[in-house]
Symmetry: C2
Subunit: 335 residues, 2 copies
């Protein structure tokens, strides 16, 4: 046996990039996922799938699958189920949050009315389970198990998010837990499902799960930072949107922990202000409390934990490259 | 071999009644189906399960299962999933219909607010799939297949029901299709799932499905009849509730098909009337159009088709007794 990798091995280890897998996934996912009749119900469900989305979660499932073996047909079914589930949560969250716009277009309930949107979310979730039921019997039980527990956690996260919005102050650990449930566990679960279908052992599955979970939290910290301090042209969102919406963010929570009594009072007063000058005033308090630097460090902390878990996965390091590059790419957004 | 049934055979064929199986099911179902945390979300979900319900669908699943063999543990899991699914539809339907009361108690959204109720419905549906995922691998694929297609149909029925409420006139066949989707297919699917777990062949499964579907339609015709012409004391509902709510029923549709131009105008005028004398006036038109007799015949027609399918099932007739008695009991409600 040669100590040099054979050409075959080299090809086998040359995994596909996020952008390449996105194209492949989109090619398969770009179809009507629902019957024609009744048209209003299923058009409402299909509508959200058609207006885009970055497909990060399903593609992460495929990447995790490829880390252990050639991508299986089952992985495309699970990836589709994950994307359908994600879209189900968006439809229902937008109803609960009364959000008018999603992906630059009217939300489903704005376009089709709340009752139809609610049902469209329901059939989207059922369609996710239909996709899961197309995988081979060998993996069905384990995948359903993880899918169900992940799905419940995402709902728990949305509930906590709604409850926290009504509170004056939220404990930092509770907030991390909420963010983790609402956004990270689906990334984590997507990776682990791909790993299960790739035949990964329990240890590797856990490391991928923790990689996704910590990366998700790092990403949310960055998102909060960019909303306040990012370059709006690069970030693609209006600066200070969270501040105008009185959204509880990592920055807000930390500031309320460290600010002086005077600053806290000012911040509370500003909650009822609807003028854009509010953004400037809140930002100035954020800066004087140095939460901008704190957020950068916090993001780095979670990112490092994520990368440590990726490092620990017992496959040759070249097979980790695509996920490593994706993680770095996601973390390079102007911070 | 004796031509007389042995004592063993006799016992084997002596199946349990609906009321006995209801008690057994309730004993197993009467528990907390959700985690403790976050309390508000899961208390909202548990609340509806605790305020009762007749458990007809899950018990029909158990009865269909016992028709072919001793009741399996799997059947209790599927029965629980069916009841959880049914309660999921009630929570979401009540939000869509803005209904304040269900089972004599405030609806989930009235008690916990719409956003939490919406999420409680979502976790109820996920809990149904958790229950399904506890059955043996042998049946999981077939059960999920039928469960998913049934679930989608129920959502389609609710969508059509909402759309029909906004129309002036609805075609009779379309109305039967809507009723079938909204209420009958879940009865039918519950029976077929029990049959699948009992090892029934395709023919017997289909007969049980059709038995349930036609029985469900007969039951709905009876429900519409009783709302108009039933004895409120026996029926347990206020007479004329559907009329006051301008609900499209079998009686209303048939009357709009057969009434004179003058009667139709009167009926349309009465739509905007909120006085209780409306009930009397609508009933008098119903009677002059003879839709009371028509409804009795229609109910009998669907009931006969249901019983014919029960008759066709290839098991000894004594094994059909409990379902036959249940069907007769359901159809004896004062018509």
């Amino acid at each position: 046996m040669s100590i040099l990798p054979s050409v075959d091995n080299h090809n086998k280890n040359q995994l596909q990039s996020f952008s390449r897998l996105s194209l492949i996934f989109e090619g398969k996912f770009k179809k009507r996922h629902f019957p024609q009749d009744p048209p209003r119900l299923y058009d409402a469900a299909q509508y959200l799938l058609t207006v885009g989305g970055k497909r990060i979660r399903p593609v992460m499932c495929l990447m995790a699958n490829e880390m252990f073996d050639t991508i299986k047909e089952d992985a495309y079914e699970v990836a589709a189920a994950i994307e359908l589930f994600h879209n189900f949560t968006l439809i229902h969250d937008d109803i609960m949050d009364r959000a008018p716009i999603r992906r630059g277009k009217p939300t489903v309930h704005t376009k089709f009315g709340e009752p139809t949107a609610l049902l469209a979310g329901d059939v989207m979730l059922i369609a996710a389970y239909e996709s899961l039921n197309r995988i081979s019997a060998e993996y069905l039980h384990a995948i359903l198990n993880l899918f169900n527990s992940t799905a419940k956690k995402v709902c728990e996260g949305q509930q906590l998010d709604m409850e926290f919005e009504k509170l004056d102050q939220v404990n930092f650990d509770d907030y991390v837990k909420m963010i983790s449930l609402k956004t990270s566990v689906l990334l984590a679960g997507s990776l682990q499902m791909g790993a299960i279908l790739g035949g990964a052992g329990a240890g590797n599955q856990t490391h991928l799960y923790e990689f996704g979970k910590n990366l998700g939290i790092a990403f949310q910290v960055q998102d909060d930072y960019l909303d306040a301090f990012g370059n709006p042209e690069k970030f693609g969102k209006k600066q200070g949107g969270d501040i105008m919406a009185n959204k509880k963010t990592f920055l807000w929570l930390k500031t309320m922990e460290t600010a002086s009594a005077q600053q806290k009072n000012k911040l509370k007063q500003l909650l009822s202000c609807n003028d854009v000058k509010k953004i400037e005033e809140v930002l100035s308090i954020y800066k004087s409390c140095k939460v901008d630097n704190w957020a950068k460090e916090l993001k780095q902390k979670y990112f490092s934990v994520a990368m440590d878990h990726l490092e620990e996965i017992a496959v040759v390091s070249i097979r980790k490259k695509p996920l490593q590059r994706l993680a770095e790419y996601l973390m390079e957004r102007d911070v």
